[in-house]
Symmetry: D2
Subunit: 278 residues, 4 copies
Amino acid sequence: MLADTAYGKSGVRLVQVIRRGDRHDLRDFTVAIRFEGAYDESYVTGDNSAVLPTDTMKNTVYALAARGPVGEPESFGLSLARHFLERNPPLRRATIDIAEHAWGRISVGDRDDGQAFVRDRPDTRSARIEMDRAQIRVCAGVTDLSILKSSHSAFDRFPRDEYTTLPETRDRLLATSLTATWWYLEPDIDFGPAWRVVRRTLLEAFAEHHSESVQHTLHAMGQAVLDCVPAVADIRLVMPNRHHLPIDLSRFGMENRNEIFVATAEPYGLIEATVTRA
Amino acid sequence: MLADTAYGKSGVRLVQVIRRGDRHDLRDFTVAIRFEGAYDESYVTGDNSAVLPTDTMKNTVYALAARGPVGEPESFGLSLARHFLERNPPLRRATIDIAEHAWGRISVGDRDDGQAFVRDRPDTRSARIEMDRAQIRVCAGVTDLSILKSSHSAFDRFPRDEYTTLPETRDRLLATSLTATWWYLEPDIDFGPAWRVVRRTLLEAFAEHHSESVQHTLHAMGQAVLDCVPAVADIRLVMPNRHHLPIDLSRFGMENRNEIFVATAEPYGLIEATVTRA
Amino acid sequence: MLADTAYGKSGVRLVQVIRRGDRHDLRDFTVAIRFEGAYDESYVTGDNSAVLPTDTMKNTVYALAARGPVGEPESFGLSLARHFLERNPPLRRATIDIAEHAWGRISVGDRDDGQAFVRDRPDTRSARIEMDRAQIRVCAGVTDLSILKSSHSAFDRFPRDEYTTLPETRDRLLATSLTATWWYLEPDIDFGPAWRVVRRTLLEAFAEHHSESVQHTLHAMGQAVLDCVPAVADIRLVMPNRHHLPIDLSRFGMENRNEIFVATAEPYGLIEATVTRA
Amino acid sequence: MLADTAYGKSGVRLVQVIRRGDRHDLRDFTVAIRFEGAYDESYVTGDNSAVLPTDTMKNTVYALAARGPVGEPESFGLSLARHFLERNPPLRRATIDIAEHAWGRISVGDRDDGQAFVRDRPDTRSARIEMDRAQIRVCAGVTDLSILKSSHSAFDRFPRDEYTTLPETRDRLLATSLTATWWYLEPDIDFGPAWRVVRRTLLEAFAEHHSESVQHTLHAMGQAVLDCVPAVADIRLVMPNRHHLPIDLSRFGMENRNEIFVATAEPYGLIEATVTRA
């Protein structure tokens, strides 16, 4: 028996230049399309008569983009999902994932150039559309937002067993590479401003929190988003703890006044939760 | 409100040398530990009194490994999960993920050296243990098994729309980088032989299948595992279609008799399904 | 016989927090140290009596950082190189490579937080010090600076042979991920401002150039740096051509007015040159 | 003034299927082409009249492959270099780099399938051809060959200073990810067997060496290749020291009898040398 079947196309790279005289705009997306539906025959008997080729999915991304400015990733994802559902009777649910890569304008002297761009953030904006015959759901997110705070971060009063060697601390570096995703209550909001408000709220809440743990800060960040952005139904935060360990300088007859750290890649703590409205 | 909370440690690198005289054995694991349970207080109030540090989880991996040969990754994962559940009352479910990196012996002349090793497979063995107060579940897998067949692969008789440009073919290269995971019916089987049989069965089924699509071959591979390995309850296969496109040589006045291909990384098809017993 | 021997430590991650009351500063370096000298005995006979352990090199990075603010990467590299040359008679040349990862301050409302940071550029600053008993050379650079221009870029009037299918164009997207490295004439300049001026000059020259090819723009960028920054002796630019190919929409009965592109990762052109003063 | 100019195409992915009845052979190459020559005009004035497009270089890879089996990577690289030098008068030197990705046959029962393949080694074979109007040089290599020995590896009697904390040891794990490249004395040898002998010799020498340091083992491996393979002129070895650190189990009241290690990714030692004939 078959379960949880899905097929689609990933890694579809789309760059659109919107030419408004001397001032161009740029959108840079990586799109993934995923179909779930009545496709079991293709698996079991090799009958492809219902299987829209993934190559056609890719072509459709470019064809729909050619109709006009793609706009926000959520809006473009909605267009794609609607298109596929209208045309493909066996399709039960279409999921569209879009990652947007950020470009800023290059400044020349004191003005922004209209036609030259530089990648300006290492973090990525994400959007997910889940659409079926009855329902449309829109999710937005930010991927790999690297943040660090050098004060107001503690971790102590935890249980100890015979394998516990971690010292308690009231003053540690807290660094993470945040991935957050949030579902909107409605599928027709103003996605650009909403995304920017959520990202800013996450940053501010991280900066201002007096942290007792990554868990504690994660919750404060999620809570702040729910408090400040009514359009958000719930938010999931995944926060790897990018440990910055103080170097033991006493071996060299020196003191480390919480200034010298080694940034480690592994192992890493991994803290996750979803904060939802009651 | 909080939902789907989890915390743990990832990327714990463990190498064990088992020294039996001149012949050493090697196990090379990357371990991840994930706790789910009554930890909401730590998120909401910053009370860490129930939060076993992830640093202690890491230490526990090494301490338990020091008791004796770790054995198969599934067995070691079971020991870890049991240890954590016994010691941590708030813990509802422990999930242990282990990736095993394969080493073979270096041959010197016509014998295998007992103490020198070479990494011998690019694919990785995986194991997952999910244990709670009532139940133990064991999953095994293989990650990124790159396979390719140069015959008996077709893709045709698919629906066409105005954006379909893909030609039909009865003879294409089929390449994928398989990730498969399967749950065992019982948590106490002989994990090493079972894993090897499943891997070999996947390879043989891939080689022998007359493929009408990736979906079709995925199903045949899953079916073969269920048919040949009674210990397996169900198997999930994720198969990116690593497209190998024939080069159009007609532009150079040459013919491509299905011999010259460009291997592409993106975009890629992505085909998934779980094959289960009825 | 032995030639081109070198040994050292790479991947030394150093994060320094400089605490000035409520306002902290952050430096985030990845350091590599490379020794060349009279170390042949260690290779040939296994005599380690001259071989300062690479573990000690790593410790030295942290110990020297603990003396006070590390400052610019070039300055810290100079301190490291001097330290090693003074202490190690067999050492003929020390090379220090430092990559600096950029952090900006998180804004809270309309002010910058003093103790919370966000990674703010995907490109990396680099510094290299080459020091021997007679000479000190300082190199700075920028790694993976992704830039794109949507006008004033052509590629035509190139030679054609029987394998040439590329159409000529007067209007293409030009994108690259620039890595530039430049040597300073003197080892004691004000490294921070110099680096910022070179980076800005590279961006402006890229934006303003009317490009006939990647080669043409590379030269203009290098020339601009030599013209604007007298401290620079020469500059090397490595510019992969990140091809953005216009999609053929005519297959869908549509026209591509140079607006819809696929960004490709491979294959890629690779253009390199050093621009030097006469 | 311009120096060290070069341009070319990288990341050209070529897969060739050689169909001999039921038994197919597979070659899987990533090719890079690099031109050096009289191309300064293109940089300085934007005159492209001498600049063979890198897109044509890519096409040429496929066109030459279509003439017949590509054979060993060195042989195919020689054909490419000759082709480009014959056709391009401004070209002074052509450098061709080829990485070969290894595929083995899938076994079905007790026979090898003729048309189904599995990637069978994580390390990569490399070849480099440097050809100018007067000379042809051929280099071969192996990239990222991960090897580990669990005995006969020491590091002691090294100098200590105030920052040295490393303990001396007569018994440590030695692991590296070897990249080796060697130049052949003549450009017309039997490249396949030569490559296999060098790789086997490197492995055997690593296994059998009583190591006082990475440097010491590096030299022994290079020396063994020069001793066993007369066709090799010199060999360069780059050996990152993939440190496997013994875990301090005494904190848990346990003893580590050199059995439990953490494999670390950074920092890492980096040891390099070229071993040449006198």
